[in-house]
């Protein structure tokens, strides 16, 4: 049975409401209106900047300056194409897709392999590896990026996509191993033991048994790994100088530098990046919110 404040608890069906109950019902309705008004007002704080961004890309430079709150006279979608073309957004998006895909595949594969071994197999250095990998949960990037940039420099892989993919995998692994290990720890022991009795080796056990069973855990790890790599800015801005390898965040900063006076174009570029992300988010909001909060709380 569900009880809610909208339905009076004591009024039996068919019996007329007592005056106090009627007053209470009206009060509930009034407070409901107040509630939704307040909530909508708060929502506007979030939505107005985003709506303003999209609408401003359809206005002229003068309109943006003179009447920031006005609506555009017409919606001409060609500005989006122009921003995409002139700003070379295609390159940035392609780089982000490549870097993110490679990083996430690496994190999921290597992370789940390690998580399985650390969760289920007894071997000499297990304790050491666990503590070693846990370091990544504690250390800020700032603790090691100074020497990391020097290393990438010396190996001549700075200013390539590898200069992002390799660090992103290394950075993402700690959390992935930690979460996936916790996940594998909850699987029943008998499962592994009976597979072993049937002569199943470690590697086969990983591919046939573990990998399919931890798919929900992998999904969570994938969500925050994707968003992490897609939105990462600090390393990307330090390690990438060539325009052809820039990911979206670094590319956008370059874009704002290049077209700093062309406001409609800038707003169009921001909209191009934002709208698809918000659309995907609205569809998968449950997974995204879960993934981010779980990933941050550890």
């Amino acid at each position: 049975m569900t009880l809610s404040t909208d339905t009076p608890l004591v009024a039996a069906p068919g019996r007329p409401l007592q005056p106090t109950q009627q007053r209470r019902k009206a009060g509930v309705r009034a407070s409901s209106v107040l509630f939704y008004t307040v909530m909508t007002a708060i929502s506007l704080i979030y939505l107005i900047p985003l709506i303003w961004m999209v609408l401003s890309s359809f206005k002229t430079q003068n309109e943006i300056f003179d009447s920031p709150w006005s609506l555009p006279h017409s919606i001409d979608l060609s500005i989006l194409g122009e921003a995409w073309q002139r700003g070379g957004l295609g390159t940035y998006v392609a780089n982000s897709i490549m870097v993110t895909t490679a990083s996430v595949v690496g994190i999921l594969l290597f992370g789940s392999m390690a998580a399985f071994a650390l969760s289920r197999l007894n071997f000499r250095l297990r304790g050491f590896f666990l503590v070693f990998l846990a370091l990544g949960l504690l250390l800020p990037v700032q603790a090691y990026f100074v020497a990391q940039s020097t290393m990438l420099d010396r190996l001549r892989i700075n200013d390539t996509r590898w200069a992002l993919i390799i660090p992103y995998i290394g950075l993402g692994l700690s959390l992935a191993v930690y979460l996936l290990k916790a996940y594998i720890d909850t699987l029943p022991r008998e499962l592994f033991e009976s597979a072993r009795m049937d002569g199943c080796g470690d590697l086969r056990m990983y591919f046939v048994l573990v990998f399919p069973l931890i798919r929900p855990g992998l999904a969570t790890v994938a969500v925050f790994s994707i968003l992490g790599a897609w939105n990462e800015f600090l390393l990307a801005t330090l390690y990438i100088q060539s325009d052809e390898y820039k990911t979206i965040p670094v590319g956008l900063v370059a874009f704002t530098g290049k077209y700093s006076t062309d406001y409609p174009l800038l707003f169009a570029a921001l909209s191009i990046i934002t709208i698809p992300m918000v659309a995907i988010y609205v569809i998968f909001h449950r997974q995204v919110i879960n993934g981010i909060t779980e990933g941050t709380l550890r």
Partner: protein, 293 residues
């Protein structure tokens, strides 16, 4: 379980450990080693002992970065954690449809920080910005500011954006916690005549208290590591008014090419962050915060 052969565990752990060693392990040792040297990145490395650390403690700008971080922490504890807590209270009111609001409040959390930083630079713009033109519209021309260009408002302006981004994140955490409060308890309290406010302050707030400590520490460690907003919106300016540890670190290492000194600055900062992080782990051990949205 015994491994099926002696080498399979190492084969499974190998790639992860190799990546981690290369990306975190070696650079960590390298950064600590560099912190005792004077090096421009190209000339010969010179060992100078603790000189960098002595210099850091006398570096006015570096000390200023911590002052700014503390102001940022104080502001975001209110704008992110407290506001997020309030939002969680609102979206967990019984019998109200709040799914749409929860989705909306979380939008900025998943967007690239750079997009938000650029967008808000426009909102704060002195000419044609949303805020200044709004102030003119309500007849307060005198309240207009060059928000990001004025040392007295720049830091606070960034704190507000940070709050705009992360209040939704803390809402999600607290909301998850409040949803775990048993329904039977809330129903019983309501039958005894408790109002929604009573339910919030007398039942939900005490029950998620452990989470507020976690959230506060998350906010603090996050503040020490923040970079994107500051770098894109003000680059630490005007006149170091929004300089924080990482923006200063980046300009020391990558603009001034003082790699050794920069390494020392990052070691000091890491000790601070890890200290706070350990406190966090210790608190976390007490109550398991499981988020099931």
């Amino acid at each position: 379980m015994r491994p099926s052969s002696r080498w399979t565990p190492y084969l499974l752990v190998g790639p992860a450990v190799a990546f981690f060693t290369f990306v975190v392990g070696l650079p960590l040792i390298g950064t600590i080693a560099l912190s005792f040297t004077k090096w421009s990145g190209t000339n010969r490395i010179k060992f100078i002992g603790l000189d960098n650390f002595v210099r850091a403690f006398h570096d006015d700008v570096y000390r200023l970065t911590y002052v700014h971080t503390f102001i940022y922490i104080a502001a975001t504890l209110v704008l992110e954690v407290a506001v997020g807590f309030g939002l969680a209270g609102l979206v967990s009111v019984q019998g109200k449809r709040t799914a749409w609001y929860r989705v909306t409040f979380f939008i900025p959390v998943m967007l690239p920080m750079v997009v938000i930083a650029v967008l808000w630079s426009f909102i704060y713009s002195d000419d044609g910005g949303l805020i200044n033109s709004f102030l003119t519209a309500i007849g307060h021309d005198d309240w207009r500011q060059v928000w990001l260009g004025d040392p007295s408002t720049a830091l606070l302006a960034i704190c507000v954006v940070s709050g705009w981004i992360y209040a939704g994140f803390y809402m999600a955490i607290f909301y998850a916690g409040m949803q775990r409060v048993p329904q039977s308890l809330l129903e019983a309290a309501r039958l005894d005549g408790a109002s929604e406010a009573d339910l919030f302050f007398k039942i939900k707030v005490p029950l998620v208290r452990g989470m507020t400590e976690v959230a506060a520490l998350l906010c603090i460690t996050g503040a020490f590591q923040s970079f994107d907003l500051f770098y894109v919106m003000t680059k630490g300016g005007p006149d170091h008014a929004t300089e924080i540890v990482t923006t200063y670190l980046v300009s020391t290492v990558f603009v001034d090419h003082e790699v050794g000194y920069g390494a020392a600055l990052s070691v000091v900062m890491s000790v601070v962050v890890i200290g706070t992080g350990l406190l966090y782990v210790k608190l976390r051990r007490g109550d398991g915060v499981d988020v099931e949205y």
